[in-house]
Symmetry: C2
Subunit: 200 residues, 2 copies
């Protein structure tokens, strides 16, 4: 009876395909600017079929956010675990590079840039909780560096927001056939921010 399992996996793959199509459309035209038909057309389906996989349009938006944040958080945990003994500079550098990589290669720039104002309070709260978790992780590394004297005294929250903003903005201008790849962007960005924070 492993056929049921195969079917379940196939359904799961279709769900993810819908999410990819939706995320791409949301990124280009915004949540309200994207119709259910926009999402289904790209997959050669009719819009009605989407309701077999998702309750409504809002659930698709929620799933997009949740999926993206899980990828980003997963990478953060991995980076922080791998760099356990390293100094703040090395950890921050790995964090920035990792975030840029996930952003460009896995999420095509959508990560935290989609409008989440369209979510109802309950779903919004869950997304914000995950987003805050990521923000705290990065702020923790910066605070660490300030305390150890590696980084100059600065407001860790503002510095975190600056870094996250710069990276989240990548989705607005990045083009896969453009002049930069994820590695270059990550290198330049992490250089800029790490040097910017370093004590003299």
């Amino acid at each position: 009876m492993q056929a049921a399992e195969r079917r379940a996996r196939k359904t799961e793959m279709k769900r993810e395909a819908i999410l990819r199509s939706a995320a791409a459309a949301f990124r280009r035209k915004g949540y309200h600017g994207t119709s259910m038909e926009d999402i289904s057309e790209a997959l050669l389906m009719t819009k009605g079929s989407l309701y077999y996989y998702f309750k409504d349009k809002e659930e698709i938006l929620y799933a997009c956010h949740d999926f993206s944040l899980d990828r980003v958080l997963e990478r953060m945990r991995q980076v922080l675990a791998d760099g356990k003994g390293d100094n703040a500079e090395t950890r921050l550098r790995a964090l920035v590079q990792g975030f840029v990589d996930v952003m460009i290669d896995d999420l095509q720039g959508s990560a935290l840039a989609l409008d989440f104002t369209a979510l109802k309070p309950e779903l919004l709260a869950r997304i914000i909780a995950k987003r805050d978790q990521f923000e705290r992780g990065m702020r923790g590394v910066i605070t660490e560096g300030v305390k150890s004297g590696e980084f100059k005294r600065t407001d860790a929250k503002l510095a975190t927001l600056a870094i996250l903003g710069a990276i989240n903005w990548i989705g607005k201008w990045y083009r896969p056939d453009g002049p930069f790849n994820a590695a270059e962007i990550g290198k330049t960005y992490s250089d800029l921010f790490v040097n910017g924070l370093r004590a003299k």
Copy 2:
């Protein structure tokens, strides 16, 4: 016959009030997520009245962008003119601080963050031209600093995008009643970026 002039000025003020209301709504809910009624309600008008001042919704979005970009460009010209003899570091610092100020105090965070994908090609092209003009201004200062040896060798375009991204992102989290004001944010951001670019 100066009454005609007074009337004209009053009409102009109403146009700007509509733009402010529209920009606030666009920022919170996106262009497609904002209805003409959302815009007019906040001004105690009916949506039909908006068409006395603007041809259609798209023209309102265009005017929002154009207004914001004019403010930003105006500040940039002023900063670059005032700092004529200064070194790249001082000029970049003033540019970042000026952009943050305009962004927060004049534009309540909307500057370049509104969806311009909703504009038809002709209008879009004009907005992009102005946005590029600003981008070139900032890139110019960075390139200058790299050439003079003040800044370390780095990709000026990527550095510019990082800085603009961080500042444009401010509108996503800034709250007037929050813990930071424009001066603090500008100081922290300009420190971060100027130090990040400086040659050792």
